[in-house]
Symmetry: D2
Subunit: 391 residues, 4 copies
Amino acid sequence: MSTDHGATFTYTGGPVAVSERTREGLGRPVLFEYDPVYLQRFLDVERRVAEVFHTTGDVVVMMGEAIVGLEAGAKGLTRPGMKALNLVSGIFGKWFGDWLRDLGAEVIEIEVPWNEAIDPASVERAFAEHPDIRLVGVVHSETPSGSLNPIAEIGPIARRHGALTIVDAVSAFAGTPIHHDEWGLDITVGGSQKCLGAAPGLALVAVSDRAWEALRANPAAPRSSYISLLDWKDRWIDAGRQKFPHTTSVADINGADAALSELFEEGLDASYARHRRAANACRAGVRAMGLDLWVTDDAAASHGVTAVKVPDGIANGDVIAHIRAKYGVMISDGEHGPMTEAVFRLGHMGPASRSLHPVVALAALGKGLRDFGVPVQVGAGLEAALEVLGS
Amino acid sequence: MSTDHGATFTYTGGPVAVSERTREGLGRPVLFEYDPVYLQRFLDVERRVAEVFHTTGDVVVMMGEAIVGLEAGAKGLTRPGMKALNLVSGIFGKWFGDWLRDLGAEVIEIEVPWNEAIDPASVERAFAEHPDIRLVGVVHSETPSGSLNPIAEIGPIARRHGALTIVDAVSAFAGTPIHHDEWGLDITVGGSQKCLGAAPGLALVAVSDRAWEALRANPAAPRSSYISLLDWKDRWIDAGRQKFPHTTSVADINGADAALSELFEEGLDASYARHRRAANACRAGVRAMGLDLWVTDDAAASHGVTAVKVPDGIANGDVIAHIRAKYGVMISDGEHGPMTEAVFRLGHMGPASRSLHPVVALAALGKGLRDFGVPVQVGAGLEAALEVLGS
Amino acid sequence: MSTDHGATFTYTGGPVAVSERTREGLGRPVLFEYDPVYLQRFLDVERRVAEVFHTTGDVVVMMGEAIVGLEAGAKGLTRPGMKALNLVSGIFGKWFGDWLRDLGAEVIEIEVPWNEAIDPASVERAFAEHPDIRLVGVVHSETPSGSLNPIAEIGPIARRHGALTIVDAVSAFAGTPIHHDEWGLDITVGGSQKCLGAAPGLALVAVSDRAWEALRANPAAPRSSYISLLDWKDRWIDAGRQKFPHTTSVADINGADAALSELFEEGLDASYARHRRAANACRAGVRAMGLDLWVTDDAAASHGVTAVKVPDGIANGDVIAHIRAKYGVMISDGEHGPMTEAVFRLGHMGPASRSLHPVVALAALGKGLRDFGVPVQVGAGLEAALEVLGS
Amino acid sequence: MSTDHGATFTYTGGPVAVSERTREGLGRPVLFEYDPVYLQRFLDVERRVAEVFHTTGDVVVMMGEAIVGLEAGAKGLTRPGMKALNLVSGIFGKWFGDWLRDLGAEVIEIEVPWNEAIDPASVERAFAEHPDIRLVGVVHSETPSGSLNPIAEIGPIARRHGALTIVDAVSAFAGTPIHHDEWGLDITVGGSQKCLGAAPGLALVAVSDRAWEALRANPAAPRSSYISLLDWKDRWIDAGRQKFPHTTSVADINGADAALSELFEEGLDASYARHRRAANACRAGVRAMGLDLWVTDDAAASHGVTAVKVPDGIANGDVIAHIRAKYGVMISDGEHGPMTEAVFRLGHMGPASRSLHPVVALAALGKGLRDFGVPVQVGAGLEAALEVLGS
């Protein structure tokens, strides 16, 4: 058992450093799943996840990283030959389209540059052109590039046109408002390991009644499978929540329980404000340091992670390794596809959005780049960030 | 966040109470996946899981409860029309057959009463009758009924006849010897939350080269999926172990890292002996109390869990709830299908196999049954168990 | 850092195994003493300690094991030439007399056999004979011998005769009722590491107004010292609880905070009942095993620890070491002076009084002795204990 | 149990935030003191404390905050009428003189301004003038004012003149070299809660053979007392380390065990360098921000804490409370006597000396002051600190 606890500070695209409360939760005794205390804890997690989604409908807490929820949703709702609209503002959206195509859908794609947000008007136009679109896939917060899509506007358009909507809200969950019911969403997937500040290993899935109908009607929807939403519906929810369809990840649930308690003691609005303030501080700092933000439009910027363009002539991987080794701070690159080498990412999700953490992230990036000869105005950047944090 | 820590003692079929070391692991800081410390930790977990399987081949640590490994194996190896031999000595074996049939295999089934073990001779006979069997499914330790199959003999038979073997060794892992290579197994699936004494949420999968070939050759094998072994092979193992195919369950890995360290400091043989001694103590105790063991043949008994027949006229659920409420001890029923009401199960996996834990489990069951009017010789049972533990 | 976590079960005269809640408390971040969160936590500890003492007067939480409170009390109240009555029913009482003599008091001593309790009538007689007694020293629960004195009756006698009373209630605190005000006590000292189930390192001291007056009037009372109650009174209590007289033991306070929260959620009466039930179970078990209790009169028996006579021809240290090595259970001897070799002690303080812990303690002792050839009726003993626990 | 974990960042004069390793240690099961695992752990703590002191002589780990060691040393070595030299460069030195006087010593005092260090030449002169000085008291690192005395030079002078030396090395321990034997010191007292990064509650005391002789020869030296070094010598060290003179603070020892393991894995020299670098970074930052250091001579500056003069017209308490409330950062004032309002203190002891922590401390102070209208060059200060940390 290595006794090295790793970086002193972690500011990445996730998994993120978790709070003290979460760590206490994670370290609790592992109870039997049907110990009444655990069972109640699981129900409490479900209930509060629903509150974060602002839904009165069903929520499924799947036992795997958020992607298992997206796979479950895509495989559950897609039918061969179905016309699907896929909205691409980054690599996660791009990949979602690959899934839809693999599943036999006829995919209409709207793609914007990966540092911009989807324009809702373009969605309206797509429906006007293809009134038979039955499924819309969209990413709320594109974690690899730190951008944000206007789901509040896109959801209702899809609903009005009778299409189901699957939303990848993995890194938005708990840091940015999500109104599953009000926005007419059908399957919305949140992650535990981002703004909630819990450990990775849980997919938090809100499912509308329309989605359940579609899942049931789809013979290809996964059943008797780890990636089956219907198993959870039939064996757990509709069976009175007595038996789990398979063993749950007790420690991860314990951690999420603690993180949710902390979240609700603070209040959802306070959490949103905290994440937004940290993002604003990071953005102000990056600009004042003389570096370039990947997403230039503040309105299109993620509240959870700030992507910074890699200066010409610099290999971001080298800088990141240097910062980790020299200063004990872990930041991340774009991590996926072409984003990998395009950006530095400063994560400010969960505990990393508190206190002066954004200043530490900026100091590490700024000084790290300067060590590579980039003429960064570190001091000016930190001052700018502090101004925002103190405002 | 509920502050109730649940049962004082947990002796179930799993998840089991984890060790102090594991809890320290679970409660550690959640690092970024590409923090060098975490990356090394993950590699250390993989390497030691391979040691427990006694394999020099690949091991995949999948991010989900053990069943995800079984599903991945079944879906990866099964092809429509393939002839498969399914060995059934309990409900898990039974269910595995359902999967094979759903996947289009032609299933030959050998079933024995659920308190007995598969006779290797019957496997030989099946191959004699069906030389075109290409896949064998078998459960090493049937957790719901506490029985054990002779995999050491069954594996080589299948290998000799050119069939691939998938073994559900979930509750055997780390408590009962498994020799993946020597026994000619192809996909062997262990669980983290049983004899290893870590938290649930990881499927530990040993994969032979023959299995990889079969997976690659199977167009229906899952790809770009949470249940894909090939994703792990292509994107992780063969790509130099630089990037995970999806986010890993950091806390669960941290816990498994700690549990494996503890296991190897003790030694595998000592762990096997410890589990066997606990099983023997429980069995001696049950007999001396005048109760009936579900598996009467000691050689067919699981080392991790002891199933006790429910006396006539008793509803095991009531007794279990009473024991939990009155004495703070959590034991389990059979939990699955017809086993649910047939047995009490006293788990002695992981830390519960240490010290006098088996005595506590027996005392709780014996006194609990006596409280329901069953004339149990509690004292005699505890004495018998202590004799074994002290021998 | 050794990774061995020691005995699986600990049933000693203290320090005792602490609860999960306490361990979470102990492991919390170490805050600065004047962080508002810590300051409030300290106040909460004080307030609840006062509730356990049933006092509306001052409580001092001293930073050291309980003995520092006794020394502070003895040195603070004793004046050369003062006549003091020392009540001796065990070695702690004996030692207290040595202190009083060292401090120049003229000591009248009532001593009973160390397996009996002080008779209040004898205290009345002492006052009749020596109306000028100004100080009474008495031990509530004599931990080394597991006996209990009737403080509820002794306190009022001393008060009626105008004497101050110092009570060593170290192992009674939180497990046995203490009514500091109602019983007219002046300095009562409780321990954190006994029935409260927190870590050792804190002396919990209730101080009456009469005691403060006496302390102030005594020029020899410690001042500007680690063992000074007056420092706490002057610099902390009377100065508005803004600055500690010296650095507090943050982790131990964090642990006590958690233990007290758990205690008050359960309720004091429930805690008393739990400790008494565990004691009764142990006593029934010892008797049924055919062993001899050190304290034969149930009314004089401690609720926190049961002392068992060492059978002839047996060296208790050897048996204790054997039980620890072979069964992973830690029990203790008498630990002090002549008690050391006279008894085995089974502690049932704090978490060890819950669930079936007393059965484990008895099983370990019974089987351990049998391994040394003592003809113990282990089974009968465990049955008897279970009967009490289930009643 | 409050679930608020307090400040996000703590940079005070101590107690300091402890490391992850220490917290794991603190949260471990509380073992019985005579459990062989705990006993070994205690011995390991003693041995490594001696290594930090660079002594081959005895070390006593007393169960209370460091001041208990200083009191034990002062009361043990001082005899009425003895001539003692007290070196005062701050309030702790001042107070030590009060103790010496209370104990009846004839005290010669050398006092320098509280932002300077004692000049060894002045000590030589004192001995020339008073060759009958038998005791020297000196503070290694004056925590309230962040200064450092040249013990390496003062110790040998005292030794050469036949005087015993007591050193308050509380906040130097593990962050600044201490050579108890080589420097000829007699009683050196270190703290657990400063540069070691463990919890408060332990006094780490190195005792020379000459000191033991003097203690034994002193009839007024504490005996049978919580503040007795002789009790530890007689009942613990010389009795073969079998029985503690009183109950030890198990959790605090567990924490110190972990902290010492971490320290020795890193290496003492690396720890010294780390603390010095953090101090240099803070000093550079303070200067570049345009603020005034309390100790202007770098050679006289503590490696563990940096004191900053409070700008005119500012109440430091208000600023500290504002920084804590607004930015979640806890720094401290001078805390004792006239130092209280004279300085801000930025602690960089233990984990707070790692990574970019000094930058966070400076950012909090700089921005906090600016919020009060002080024209601080925050950015310049943070740049200067980063330069030092990156050098």
